[in-house]
Amino acid sequence: MNVEEVRLHATRLFGRLMATPEGRHFLAHNGFQSGQAVIVAQYDETIQDVMARVHAHRPPVTVALAKDVDADDLQMFEVRPADRQALDDAALASPQATIGMLYEAAQQGGGNTFRVTEWDQAATAVSFPEARQLLSV
């Protein structure tokens, strides 16, 4: 089965961040650690599909999204388990909503805890909007 070109593009952009001291510092500053899994996805994939892939790996997991192959615009957020209090306060996210919508919500909230309906686990998504600035240099 072919890999979608937009996923290859997101992978390419992530590698570009890891190629420079500034990009590595940016990721480390946002909690990225060696060994941490990176899931690349398309902007319009459902939360359910992406979270199924996320949960195959030990948290925290970084999700990297690209909208299209012509833009050097990488959107990232980290998914990590939420504590009990956060779980109670978590916003419900429809599993059929897109992961792109979740990113937008995380970006606006600066750190958005959500729970996908029909799933027991909650996760906190923290967006890394500054990645755009680094990649646009």
């Binding site: 890999v3 290859l8 590698g15 190629a19 590595r24 690349v40 790996h57």
Partner: protein, 140 residues
């Protein structure tokens, strides 16, 4: 050494020409080691190992892997082991179809860290541009 008495010619220099030493990265324990697996879905993944020293990538390996019901398989690899930037492309039996295809020889020197660092992005992009071709070759 003197000249040949009969011909008056200088003797031929038979001593071996010194070759520049091949590149060796700083010891691993002196470096920051960064590994990251990137999962592209449907069993496809890219695994990157970087050794960082003084803000340079002084050693790296980029591996393409594929996971199916039979296990996890190496599909391709670009690395800079043994003073040589080279590429491997594997078949299902794990045989290197390229026999460590050389891309560039790396020599020791004052610029060697910067040289290795400068190879990272082109090699990473190359791996991605050849990604599906590598996979198709592995599937054959």
């Amino acid at each position: 050494m003197g000249r040949n008495r009969k011909t008056g010619k200088k003797p031929v220099n038979m001593s071996p020409t010194p070759q520049p030493a091949l590149y060796r990265p700083p010891d691993e324990h002196l470096c920051e080691v960064v590994n990251y697996p990137v999962f592209l879905g449907d069993g496809h993944s890219l695994h990157v190992h970087q050794r960082l020293y003084r803000n340079f990538i002084v050693w790296f390996a980029i591996m393409q892997r594929f996971e199916n019901a039979a296990g996890i398989h190496d599909v391709a690899r670009i690395d800079c082991c043994h003073g040589m930037l080279h590429r491997h492309v594997f078949d299902r039996q794990g045989v290197d179809l390229m026999d460590q295809q050389p891309i560039a020889t790396l020599y020791s020197g004052s610029e060697s860290w910067a040289t290795v660092d400068s190879h990272f992005t082109p090699m990473y992009d190359r791996m991605l541009s050849e990604y599906m071709a590598n996979h198709r070759r592995w599937c054959q």
